[in-house]
Symmetry: C2
C-alpha cells in the first residue's frame, strides 16, 4: 500500500457513494444496482472504473449531460434480441437490465443479444460479462465511450474511445475465464499513473497532434491520442484499430447511439452524449452435454497455467487471475483509496449535501 493511501471497507465505500447518489436524486434501486457494478470494479482492483469515476459523474451532472432520474425502457424486443434506451443516465442500470435480458434469452433459446443506446459510462465491462458466467453462460460486453481518445492506425486525430471488450466463460474447478481489455495499447489510467510518479511512458502508447509517438505522460494526457492495440503497422496496429471499430459498430451503429467522434466534431457542446453498449450471452448447454463445457475449460485453464514459462519467476496466468487475487485481498483488508481520491469523494459529498463517511 502506498503511504498516501487509506483502506476502507467495501461496505463503507458503498455507503459513501450511496449517500452521494441519493443526494443527487437517484432512486434507491438504481443506486444499489449502480453500486453493485462500481464496487465490483473497486474490489477487482480496477480502480479506474469504480469510485474513481465519481469525479467524472459529478462533472457531467454539473454540465447537465446526465440525468439521475432516467426513464429506462426496452424499446424493441424479440425472443433473442432486445434494444434498451438508457434514458440519458449513467450506464450501469440499463446495462444490467440489458445483460440480464440477454442471459434470460440465452437460457431459453441458446443465445441473446441486447444493445443499449442513450446511455453513458457503465463502469467495468468485465462486471457484465461475469454476470453471464455466474449463470453458467458465456458473456460478452462491449461499450463505446463518450469522448474519443484513440487514433486509427496512420491517423493523427482520436476517433474512438478505448472501446473495451469483455468476455467471460464459466469453468468449474477454476474461476471463470474473464478477459476485460481496452482495444488501445494502454489504458488512459496507466498514463495517469506514470504522470503521478513522473515516469516516461513506453514508446508507442501515445502520439502528439502530428501523429508522432511521445513518451511524456503529461503531454500524452493533454493530447489524448492513444494508439490502438499493436501500436504500429509492423506490430499489428491495424488489428487494434479494427477491433476498436468493431466495438464501435456493435455499440453505436447497431443500437442507434452516437458515434462520439462525429458528435464531438459537429456539436462539442451536445446536450447529451448518447453512449451505446453491446451485450451477448450464449448458453453452452445449447451445444454440449451439461457440464462438458466447464470440464473442458478447466482442462484448458490448467494447461495454460502449466505452460513452460520463459522466466520461471513470471508464470503464465489466465485472464481474470489478477482480479480474483485482488478481490480476495480487498475483501479481507479493504479497498485502498489514495489521499486524493478520498478528498475528492469528501468534496463531492459536501457539494451534494451528502454526509461525509470516509475519514481523512
Amino acid at each position: 500500500m502506498a503511504s498516501d493511501e487509506t483502506l476502507v471497507s467495501a461496505d463503507l465505500l458503498r455507503r459513501q457513494l450511496a449517500a452521494i447518489f441519493g443526494a443527487w436524486g437517484m432512486a434507491e434501486d438504481h443506486i444499489q444496482t449502480t453500486l453493485d457494478i462500481m464496487l465490483w470494479a473497486d474490489l477487482a482492483g480496477i480502480d479506474s472504473h469504480g469510485a474513481g469515476m465519481m469525479q467524472l459523474y459529478h462533472r457531467l451532472r454539473e454540465q447537465e449531460k446526465l440525468t439521475f432520474r432516467p426513464e429506462i425502457r426496452v424499446v424493441r424486443e424479440n425472443p433473442a434480441t432486445a434494444l434498451v434506451d438508457g434514458g440519458g443516465g449513467l450506464g450501469h442500470v440499463p446495462s444490467v437490465r440489458a445483460m440480464d435480458l440477454a442471459c434470460d434469452k440465452a437460457a431459453t433459446i441458446g443465445v441473446g443479444v441486447a444493445a443499449v443506446r442513450n446511455s453513458h459510462h457503465y463502469g467495468a465491462a468485465g462486471a457484465y460479462a461475469e454476470r453471464a458466467s455466474d449463470r453458467g453462460l458465456i458473456g460478452i460486453a462491449m461499450t463505446a465511450v463518450a469522448r474519443p481518445s484513440v487514433v486509427p492506425l496512420y491517423g493523427a486525430d482520436a476517433m474512438f474511445g478505448t472501446n473495451p471488450i469483455a468476455f467471460a466463460a464459466p469453468a468449474k474447478r477454476n474461476p471463470p475465464f474473464l478477459l476485460d481489455m481496452a482495444t488501445s495499447t494502454a489504458a488512459l489510467g496507466k498514463i495517469t499513473i506514470a504522470s503521478r510518479v513522473g515516469k516516461p511512458i513506453p514508446d508507442g502508447w501515445a502520439v502528439d497532434p502530428d501523429g508522432r509517438s511521445i513518451t511524456d505522460p503529461d503531454a500524452a494526457l493533454s493530447h489524448r491520442r492513444l494508439t490502438p492495440l499493436g501500436s504500429t503497422r509492423a506490430m499489428g496496429g491495424h488489428k487494434g484499430y479494427g477491433l476498436a471499430m468493431m466495438v464501435e459498430v456493435l455499440c453505436t451503429t447497431l443500437s442507434g447511439a452516437q458515434f462520439g467522434a462525429l458528435r464531438e466534431r459537429r456539436d462539442p457542446d451536445a446536450a447529451r452524449h448518447d453512449v451505446g453498449h453491446f451485450f451477448l450471452a450464449i448458453d453452452p448447454d445449447a451445444f454440449r452435454e451439461e457440464g462438458a463445457f466447464e470440464a473442458d475449460l478447466d482442462e484448458m485453464i490448467d494447461a495454460l497455467r502449466a505452460t513452460r514459462a520463459a522466466d520461471p519467476a513470471e508464470p503464465v496466468q489466465v485472464a481474470g487471475d489478477p482480479e480474483v487475487r485482488a478481490r480476495a485481498e480487498r475483501q479481507r483488508n479493504g479497498i485502498p483509496l489514495s489521499a486524493r481520491l478520498a478528498q475528492e469523494l469528501r468534496d463531492i459529498a459536501t457539494a451534494a449535501g451528502a454526509p461525509i463517511l470516509i475519514g481523512s
Copy 2:
C-alpha cells in the same frame, strides 16, 4: 508482380483445383463450395489461405488425417443455434453450412450462432463473415487451428493457433467493413515472406524455445512460436493472448472440438485433428429501422477515411479496403502465382492423377 510470378485467371485456377479435388474423390457440390471460399481468398490477396493451402491439404490427405468424403451433419439445432459436425473433412463445406444456418436464424429471429466440430482448415475467416454482410447482416467468424504456433504471454511453448477473428458489417455507399485478423502479432505467412527474401523479422514477432525474442525468420519458422498481438506485457501482449483464448473457447470448448495444444501433447499422431469453428450473425433490422444501420456505418467509414493522417502519403484506411483493391485488380489481371506455387500445384495434380491445367 515479382519476376518469378505468372498470372492465372480465377477461372483457370478454379478448374485446376477442382480437377485435383475431383481426383481426391471429393463430391462435386463440395468441390464448388470449397472453391468459392478458396478463390475468395486468392482474389482478395490473402495468398496464404487459397491455392497456397493445397500443399497442406495434400499432406494431410497422405497422412490420412482428412477425409474428402465427409458426412456433414447438423447434430443439434434450435431456432437460434446449431452445432455442425464436419465429418473429419476440410472446413469449408461445414463452415458454409454453419454460417448460412446462423444467417438464416438471424434473418428470422435477429441472431444466430453456429459452432462446428470435427472439422479442419476452413480457409480465410473473412469469407464467412462477408457471407453475412452480403445478406445485410453483421457476421463474425472465428476458427481454432490444428497445430499450435502462438505462445501465451510469459510462455515459452505454443498453446494456440493464430486463431483469427473476422467481423463484417454491411454499409451502402461503401464496401462492407471487413476485419480479418490473426490474434498473433504477425501471421506465419509474413515470416515465410521474410525468409524467402532473406530479411530479419521485427523484434517481438517470434520467440525461441527459451521464450526470447528472435529476428531470424528461418529460426522463427522452425521454432514456430509467435507472440500474441501486443507482443510484450508493456505493449498489451496479455490482450492478444486473451483474444486467442477467447477464440479457442468459442471454437473448441463450445463445439466440443479438441484443444490442439492438449491433443499434440497427449497424442501427436492423433488420427484426426478435430478442429472447431464459430459463427455468429446478427440482423441490424432487429434493432434499427431498415437502412439506418447501413447509413450510419457509411458515415463512420467516411469519417475514418477523412481522419487527418500523421503522414499525408499514408492515409487512414478502413478494414477491408486492401481486399477490395486486390479483388478489383485480380479480377481484371489475374491471380499471381509464384513459380514455386505453380510447380507445387502441378506436382500435386500429377500425384493425384489429375490433368495439369496451369502452364509452367
